[in-house]
């Protein structure tokens, strides 16, 4: 099963509230992730994922209409490393700062199979000598698993509302 949407889920579970320890772990994971993609080192980014993983940045219109195209779609930690190399060595671009504001996570389920959660985010972009602006807003659809090396993403899909991308998207979301 993949995290695809929240349809069919109970939004008003009389279910017990989330386990504070679990919530703290996820908050911590999201905070570390944001720190690495915003402030580096970018080389540390692939290590947030399992070797076999899905990382995708997908416009909401494709997601909603069931169209498979993503802005970026990677299927292994190797591909993530290829992206890091691309960002650092081969992609010519106007440098910019990005700043992730990650909202509170919504844990959908937690079982032996892993944790599924959905988290809203917004990324603010600042180019040199320009004002900051909203760059990319959306939600993470995550499938997280516990490993001996801490929590890792088996799957992180950033479905973004900001379909009309302000020119380019270089760094990971």
């Amino acid at each position: 099963m993949r995290v695809t949407d929240t349809a069919g889920l109970s939004h008003h579970a009389a279910a017990p509230p989330p386990d504070p320890v679990l919530l703290a772990s996820i908050i911590d994971l999201n905070a570390r992730y944001a720190s690495v993609v915003d402030d580096g080192p970018l080389d540390a980014w692939p290590d947030f994922f399992l070797e076999e993983c899905i990382y995708r940045i997908q416009p909401r219109e494709n997601f909603d209409r069931g169209l498979p195209l993503a802005t970026l779609a990677f299927e292994s930690r190797g591909m993530l490393k290829d992206r890091v190399y691309g960002v650092q060595e081969t992609l010519f671009h106007d440098p910019y700062y990005q700043r992730h504001i990650v909202s509170v996570p919504r844990i959908l389920s937690a079982s032996d199979d892993g944790i599924r959660c959905v988290t809203n985010y917004v990324v603010v972009r600042t180019r040199r000598n320009e004002l900051s602006s909203v760059y990319n807003a959306g939600r993470y659809l995550d499938w997280i698993v516990a490993t001996s090396d801490g929590l890792k993403f088996r799957e992180r899909i950033a479905v973004f509302d900001s379909e009309l991308i302000p020119n380019s998207l270089i760094y990971p979301i």
């Binding site: 498979p68 195209l69 990677f74 190797g78 290829d82 010519f92 106007d94 998207l169």
Partner: protein, 425 residues
Amino acid sequence: MNAPDCLPATTETKRVEFTRNSRIPTWVYTDPDVYQREMERLFYRNHWCYVGLEAEIPQLGDFKRTRLGERSVIMVRDAQGEVHVVENRCAHRGVAFCREDFGNREKFVCPYHQWQYDLAGNLKGVPFRNGVKAVVDGVVCTQGGMPADFDPKQHGLTQLKVARRGGVVFASFDHGVEPLEQFLGDPVLPWFDRVFGGRELRILGYSRQRIPANWKLMQENIKDPYHPGLLHSWFVTFGLWRADQKARMVMDAHHRHACMISRRNEGGAGAVTQGVTSFKARMQLHDTRLLDVVPEGWWNGPTVVMITLFPNLVIQQQVNSLSTRHLQPVGPGAFDYVWTHFGFADDTPEMTTRRLRQANLFGPAGFVSADDGEVIEMAQHSFAANAGFSTLAELDGTAVRDTEHMVTETLIRGMYEYWREVMTP
């Protein structure tokens, strides 16, 4: 007092003249009046513009909203399967009534006063057209309504002329435009048909970018075989596009459209990588599936064919990745660049996966294409501040002609030859 105390009498820097196709003044990219004339002469008159693919509206009643130049239009399939393109502007008080990019309708209803149009754009309903009945002083009479001589035929949506070829839909506000095939021209047609040979298409999805640069800079970019092997590390390093490849540059008779045709080689170091900083001798992919190219029969040799159809379309075949790229100007300093990635209905699942993987090279984040939007924005920055500058496009001389190599800016010169002709009063 005299005038100078009030206002400069003339603009300061003399506008640079545009007398040579190879020296393009910056006002061509920045002047709002020039831009307005482009809308009229290049987008709304005398040209066919791309609006979409038939595969985007497969069902009866399916529509797609898009832009032709700056005007909002709707491509729609009616109950008979016919494809219409109508302007998204109510004839009554002008409301751009259609607010979704895709959908399905039996008719169009404007929300403001519920005027109704059929899918061909004909006005079919006007509420209270004949007024309302009322009793005034005990007498039944009719109040209000449209005048007796109101002719719905005069008040439909603007209907555009439509042409389809191989599943691609073009439209024109100008019903006197030449036939599509003539417009594309003999040298370009076979390359168009190579991709759109009649096979059913499968839409894979969309990418959208707003690029803060004049729309022609992107046309130039895809008419510029000089840059890919220099700007794009992946192209030069993996041999997807570089100066030592067999290549052909083909134009229509007007030099407005063009095809850049090339065949991949092995990549690696060579004469054409010396001193090229974007060449990465030791670059190796951690996951080679990103570039798992499998030749397809219909290629007939070339591995890359990039077609620019003037004014608003790029057709991309880069190994297994296929897309149309639709240019939608937003003033002289920006345009929206809309990518429709597609494959064929009879693709194997593996081929679909391959196309999607290679899509990582293209679009706003693409390993290759992200660069293009960035460099042309950086050119626009210069133009905005430099009224006196002209760009230079003299690689391979100043003539305009087809070539059998890629060390040339002939296609750019060709486009401006045509532009100057059409834009001159």
